[in-house]
């Protein structure tokens, strides 16, 4: 048996025993686990279906032309716009980033997408603004986005030279 599976087993036994003996700490951990598992189950399978459809229908040339090595600065705009519609979090952004890269999107654009999907998902930004004010959200976006693009370009340049590839799955 793999170490990972043993860990899962231990965790499961821990959950069941704390449930049986009404151990408060264990019950809290179980509640956390269920909350997060449910919020991910709602999103992740759907995202993978979209990724599957993307893989079979979208032509490589289209991605190469708009997001590939010879694309213009507009590629970064597309990446940011796409990230605005992303939901969930980084755990959703990585599979999408991988499929974009496998279709020919260049690394700097892919990293920009990952970073931007962390900071400017539209529903999240709106939610943030209601709690911390619009000024806060706007400053945060205006400062972090250029830095994300800049660091992505540098990372992309170095890693492309090293022939780095994002693993498909």
């Amino acid at each position: 048996m793999k170490i990972r599976n043993i860990l899962y087993l231990i965790f499961l036994i821990f959950l069941v025993t704390s449930y049986l003996f009404h151990w408060e700490s264990g019950e809290k951990i179980t509640a956390n686990f269920i909350t997060f598992a449910l919020s991910m189950i709602k999103i992740v399978p759907v995202v993978f279906i979209l990724i599957g459809l993307f893989e079979v229908w979208v032509k490589r040339e289209i991605i190469e032309k708009h997001l590939g090595e010879d694309s213009s600065w507009l590629a970064f705009l597309w990446a940011i716009l796409l990230s605005g519609t992303t939901i969930g979090g980084l755990y959703v952004a990585f599979p999408i980033a991988a499929v974009l890269h496998s279709k020919g999107a260049k690394l700097s654009v892919v990293f920009t997408y990952v970073g931007a999907s962390a900071v400017c998902r539209i529903p999240m930004a709106v939610f943030e603004a209601t709690f911390l004010g619009i000024k806060f959200t706007i400053i945060r976006l205006l400062v972090s986005l250029p830095l994300i693009i800049l660091s992505s370009v540098i990372m992309g340049k170095i890693l492309t030279k090293q022939k780095f590839v994002i693993k498909g799955e």
């Binding site: 993978f48 599957g52 459809l53 229908w57 755990y91 599979p95 970073g115 911390l132």
Partner: protein
């Protein structure tokens, strides 16, 4: 959320009507990719449920509420990197913190690292980027979060220059 379901369903139906074989292939790809990443998700979920138990909201309130704003910013960025919570928990929490008079720069350090830096998402990120690039990406984005906090601090008049 309903929008996501609805649009996926429409795309699936359209895809199926246009080309049955391709659609089956898409589902197969989706299934394969999903099952391959599932263990990493499970590991992450276990980490999250334990860490969030160890770092409850009361503790976050206490740690960030310290009197020194620079120390607060530092602790906030460490907590934000360590934990992972959905927006519907994080931003109301930040709202509470704000009402308690905690500076914007501390809140910014917390929410930015929460979003940009993921120690708990490491098992997933590693699958795609490999350990080395994952560490570099997180380190760079950590620095970006700090820069954002400093700018927020200056523009909200919390850091005098």
């Amino acid at each position: 959320m309903q929008f996501l379901y609805l649009s996926t369903l429409i795309l699936l139906v359209v895809s199926f009507l246009t080309n049955k074989k391709k659609t089956q292939k898409a589902i197969k790809i989706a299934y394969k990719k999903f099952t391959k990443i599932l263990p990493a998700f499970l590991t992450m979920l276990i980490f999250i449920s334990i860490v969030l138990f160890l770092v409850p909201q009361e503790l976050i309130l206490k740690v960030l509420g310290g009197s020194n704003k620079y120390l607060g910013t530092f602790f906030a960025s460490v907590l934000g990197s360590l934990t992972l919570m959905p927006g519907f928990i994080a931003f109301p929490l930040a709202g509470i913190l704000r009402q308690q008079g905690i500076p914007y720069m501390v809140l910014s350090a917390f929410t930015s690292t929460l979003m940009l830096v993921g120690i708990l998402t490491f098992p997933i990120e590693k699958k795609f980027l490999g350990s080395k690039v994952t560490i570099i990406r997180n380190a760079i984005f950590f620095v970006i979060s700090l820069i954002v906090s400093v700018v927020i601090g200056i523009l909200f008049g919390e850091i005098g220059i």
